[in-house]
C-alpha cells in the first residue's frame, strides 16, 4: 500500500535524520547509506543506491562545524528514493531515468531542510534555558527531559523536510514528467556522469590540499589510460 510505504520511508527519514546531528552520528545519514536503506525498505535497494551515489559527493565537503548547518542531503536521498520507487511508476517512469528525474527534483526541495534544521536548533535554545531553570530549582530530572526533547525537535525537522520533498515532489512530477522525462531518458548516461563530477569538482575545490589539482589530474589520467589500455 503506497501510504504505508510512504510512512515506512518517513521512519527511515527520521532515523537517518537523527543520525545527522542529534544521535550516534554513525553516518547512516550519508546519502550512500540512507538511499539504499530507504530503497531496501521500499523493496528496491538499487534505486536507493543510485540516488545515493549521484548526490553523495555534492555536499561532502561541507563540514558541520560549530553553528554551520550543511544542506540536508540525507532527506534528499531518502525523499528522492521514495519518489523514484513509489511515485515514479505511477507516472510511467521506470529504471535509472526515473531515479535521475526524482533526484533532480529532490535537490532544490531539500534546501528547505536547512530552514527546518535551524528551527530545531532555535527550539533547543529554550530547552537549555528550561533545564538551567530546572537545575536552579532542584528539579534535576528536567536535564534528561529537556535534553531528550531535543531529539523530538530534530526528528520533526527531518520529517518536515521529507514531507516537503515527497509532497511537493509528487505534485511537481505531474508537470515535469511530460516535459522532462523524454530528455532525461536520452541524456541519462551523461547525467549519471555529470552529477558525481560536479560533486568531485566541488570537493576538489574545497578540500584544501596543496597540489590537489596535480594529484587529481595525474591520478585521473593514469587510471583512464590504464582502463583504456586494458
Amino acid at each position: 500500500m503506497p501510504v504505508a510505504d510512504y510512512l515506512l520511508a518517513a521512519g527511515v527519514a527520521v532515523g537517518c535524520g537523527l543520525d545527522r546531528t542529534a544521535a550516534l552520528q554513525m553516518m547512516i545519514s550519508r546519502p550512500l547509506v540512507a538511499g539504499p536503506l530507504t530503497g531496501w525498505v521500499l523493496g528496491n535497494a538499487v534505486a536507493g543506491l543510485e540516488v545515493g551515489s549521484l548526490i553523495e559527493l555534492l555536499w561532502l565537503g561541507r563540514l558541520p562545524i560549530g553553528a554551520a548547518v550543511p544542506p540536508d542531503d540525507t532527506q534528499v536521498a531518502v525523499g528522492g528514493t521514495a519518489l523514484a520507487v513509489l511515485a515514479g511508476p505511477t507516472f510511467g517512469m521506470i529504471g535509472f531515468p526515473s531515479v535521475l528525474l526524482c533526484t533532480l527534483l529532490a535537490l532544490p526541495l531539500g534546501k528547505v531542510g536547512e530552514l527546518f534544521d535551524r528551527l530545531a536548533r532555535y527550539w533547543n535554545d529554550r530547552l537549555a534555558l528550561q533545564a538551567q531553570k530546572g537545575v536552579a530549582e532542584n528539579r534535576f530530572a528536567s536535564v534528561e527531559r529537556c535534553h531528550l526533547l531535543g531529539l523530538v525537535h530534530f526528528g520533526l525537522s527531518s520529517l518536515a523536510t521529507y514531507a516537503v520533498i515527497v509532497i511537493f515532489g509528487s505534485v511537481a512530477l505531474h508537470w515535469l514528467v511530460p516535459v522532462l522525462y523524454a530528455p532525461v531518458v536520452r541524456s541519462a548516461a551523461w547525467l549519471r556522469l555529470g552529477l558525481p563530477l560536479v560533486g568531485a569538482a566541488v570537493l576538489l575545490g574545497t578540500i584544501n590540499v596543496n597540489r590537489s589539482l596535480l594529484l587529481f589530474g595525474v591520478s585521473f589520467a593514469a587510471v583512464l589510460l590504464t582502463l583504456a589500455v586494458l
Binding site: A22, A23, L24, Q25, M26, M27, L32, A45, L49, G52, S53, L57, L60, L63, G66, A67, L107, P108, R121, Y122, N124, D125, L127, A128, A131, V135, N138, F140, V143, C146, H147, L148, G150, F154, P183, S187, L191, L193, P196, L197, V198, A200, A201, V202, L203, L204, G205, T206, I207, N208, L215, F216, S219, F220, A221, A222, V223, L224, L227, A228
Partner: protein, 246 residues
C-alpha cells in the same frame, strides 16, 4: 582527598550517553545541555545536595567541541571532578581544550576520514554493489568508535595526561595525508566513471581527458562560493539542452 573511583557501570552509562551528546544542540550554548546530560550519572555519584547542584550549573556553561573527541574530554573531566583539589580546573580545562579538540576532530573526521571512506565506497556503488554500504560504514566507524570508547576510558584513567596521548596521534598530520589520498582516489573514481560512460556510448576513452578542464572549472567556481545546488542544476540543464539544440 582520595579518589572514590567511579564504578564502571556509571562510567559505561556516561560513555553510552555520549552518543546522544548533540540531541539538544542549540545556537545559544551549543553542547552545554548535552554535556550535563552525559556527565550527570557520574556527577550524581560524586556529589550530593548543593555540591551536585553547583556541579550541574558548572556544566551548563557554553561548551562546544567535536562530538567524537568529546568522549576523551568527558573521561578527563570525570577524572578531574573525582579529585576535589582540582575542581577549579574543570572549567579551565573545558574552555582550554574544547576548541583545539574541535579543530582536530573536524579536520580528521569530517575533512579526512569521511571523504576517504565515501570515495572508496563509491567505487563499489558505481559498480552497482550494495557492499558499498558496509565498506563506508566500516571505514568511517572504526576510528569513530575507537575515539568514543577507548578515548573515553583513556581520558578517565590518564586524567590530564590524556591530552598528550591525543597529541601523540598527530591528527592534523594524519588528516592531511587522508585528504591527499582522497584527492588521488577522487581522480581515479572520476576516471573510472568517465570510462564507463564513454564505453556505454561507444566512444574512445581518449575523449575522457576533456573531463579534466571541466572539473577544474567547476572546482574553481565552487571555490568562488557559487552554490553547489546551482552548479548541479546548471550542469543538468546543459546536459539536457544539448541534444535538443543538436
Amino acid at each position: 582527598m582520595e579518589r572514590k573511583g567511579i564504578p564502571k557501570s556509571i562510567l559505561l552509562r556516561v560513555m553510552l550517553r555520549s552518543f546522544l551528546l548533540q540531541a539538544s544542540w542549540n545556537f545559544e550554548r551549543l553542547q552545554n545541555l548535552g554535556t550535563l546530560y552525559v556527565l550527570k550519572p557520574a556527577l550524581s555519584f560524586l556529589y550530593r545536595d548543593d555540591e551536585f547542584k553547583q556541579a550541574c550549573l558548572r556544566h551548563l556553561e557554553h561548551f562546544n567541541t567535536h562530538p567524537f573527541l568529546a568522549s576523551p574530554i568527558f573521561g578527563t573531566l570525570l577524572a578531574l571532578e573525582n579529585e576535589p583539589a582540582s575542581r577549579f580546573d574543570v572549567q579551565e580545562f573545558k574552555s582550554m581544550i574544547a576548541a583545539p579538540y574541535a579543530a582536530m576532530g573536524d579536520s580528521f573526521f569530517w575533512g579526512g576520514v569521511r571523504p576517504l571512506a565515501a570515495c572508496l565506497a563509491l567505487f563499489f556503488a558505481f559498480k552497482g554493489s550494495l557492499a558499498e554500504v558496509a565498506v563506508f560504514l566500516a571505514l568511517f566507524n572504526i576510528p569513530h568508535l575507537w575515539f568514543r570508547t577507548v578515548g573515553f576510558w583513556q581520558g578517565y584513567s590518564l586524567g590530564i595526561d590524556s591530552v598528550a596521548k591525543i597529541q601523540e596521534q598527530r591528527l592534523p598530520d594524519q588528516a592531511l595525508r587522508l585528504k591527499e589520498l582522497t584527492v588521488i582516489l577522487l581522480g581515479g573514481l572520476c576516471a573510472y566513471l568517465t570510462f564507463l560512460t564513454l564505453q556505454a556510448k561507444s566512444l574512445a576513452a581518449g575523449w575522457g581527458i576533456l573531463v579534466l578542464p571541466l572539473v577544474f572549472v567547476v572546482g574553481w567556481l565552487a571555490r568562488r562560493r557559487i552554490s553547489v545546488l546551482l552548479l548541479a542544476l546548471s550542469m543538468a540543464a546543459v546536459v539536457l539542452a544539448i541534444p535538443q539544440i543538436a
